[in-house]
């Protein structure tokens, strides 16, 4: 969403908020999906909760659409971390391995053999993503699930561009290094 306006938006107004929801909910959903490793219905709950919290706090928000997206991501991040902490206490946490595997089963026009290979790749990828730190996973999510450029990630995470590039590169190298040989 690189074309988001930098003009201030008035989120007190329900129309503006609905517009923001329409424009950003897919990114927030994917962000939570990638970061949390929760099944679809829980990701939907967290996405809905993110917007409910934002709606309650909307009178304190000031900025343009880009700032609003960053603000929503911050709320989503806090929710994911909080939920993850509670899940750990309950000893219950889904693994990205299962989530990504199950949700990418339906690969339409592939042969059965190719489909099996794809499924194995997703299973492996999910398992490797699961072992990354929050920061590593968040960078991958922003870069690939949300399609953000390095500069935008750097601004969002308040880091130099170069640091983000290096972290991303190292994380990808780690994934490759840990990828099992069959």
């Amino acid at each position: 969403m690189g074309d988001m306006s930098s003009h201030d938006i008035n989120l007190r107004d329900a129309d503006s908020f609905a517009h923001l929801f329409n424009k950003t909910h897919l990114q927030i959903f994917r962000y939570i999906y990638g970061l949390s490793g929760s099944p679809g219905h829980e990701v939907e709950d967290l996405t809905a909760e993110t917007y409910t919290r934002a709606w309650k706090a909307r009178h304190r928000f000031k900025g343009g659409e880009d700032a609003a997206l960053r603000w929503l991501i911050q709320i989503a991040r806090n929710l994911v971390i909080d939920t993850s902490r509670r899940s750990k206490v309950r000893g219950k946490r889904e693994s990205l391995e299962d989530i990504i595997y199950h949700e990418n089963l339906q690969s339409g026009d592939l042969s059965p053999e190719e489909q099996l290979t794809k499924q194995n790749e997703y299973r492996t990828l999910g398992s490797l993503l699961d072992k990354l730190t929050y920061q590593q996973r968040e960078m991958l999510v922003l870069r690939y699930f949300l399609g953000w450029q390095v500069k935008r990630i750097a601004t969002h995470l308040n880091m130099p561009d170069n640091t983000v590039s290096v972290y991303l590169r190292r994380t990808l190298e780690k994934l490759r290094k840990d990828w099992p040989e069959y």
Partner: protein, 279 residues
Amino acid sequence: MKRSTNKPDISQIEELLEAIQPQPSNDFYHRMQSSPWVRSKSVYSTLSSLKDSLLLPRFQFAALVAGFLFLLLLIFGFVNSPNFIAIAQQIANYIMPAQSDQLSIPYMNTLTISPTTLDTHNNFPLNLEEAEDLTSHTLKLIPKSEYDLTFSGARYDPKLSALTLRYELGDALILFTQRPLGEIEEYTSVGASAPIVILTVRGVDGEYVEGGWRMYSENENLYPSTSPDDEKNMGVLWDSNLPQRILRWKEDNFIFELLVTGNHELEQSDIVKIAESIQ
């Protein structure tokens, strides 16, 4: 994805990552139809469908709408009255933005509220036992953690039943206040432009702000006043660059506040970590 070895290369891993584009289900969209911003938005469409269902003549419907708008106006007037706003905001917020970034405070009041006056050892004459004796609840404390804070006194405000514990960390000062929720509501006032971050602390919503009020010099006066009373007042300006951090949250019928000031490099995550460690 054809590959010569079993391991994908980095660009192939990137391709796999880019291909993960999950979508919410239809249930999600159905559910979001009843979200508060959609409900607020639908007042007009409700009126339109009301008109259709009642099949009222145009002038009767106009009268009905006018009556409804008048009622809304009355409610709006009430809701926007200063007293109502003050009460509502005190209930809803822990940290409240002031009307502007500049305030004029009478000297007498300044003496009682300024964080700089709190920043003296003499204002925290109580030890932990004495502090505990003054409160009717179990005292929450910041344990010796990785930050190695040193307790250096406490003070009790009987008016608010607020107990403030003073900790030192090098040149940093940390004031931890705990107060049972009661009839008197109070909040931390910050500048109108101060960004208040909503975050999760100890499993509940908290509010965090960086910066503080400081005395301003003549050329910084944003709103020069001609009032002859000014000599009795002290002007303060909100400065987001001051190394002061405030974190507030409500938990188990108590209001808690961590105020960090002085010479330090503590960031939001450190302060949340300190809050999480409180026992």
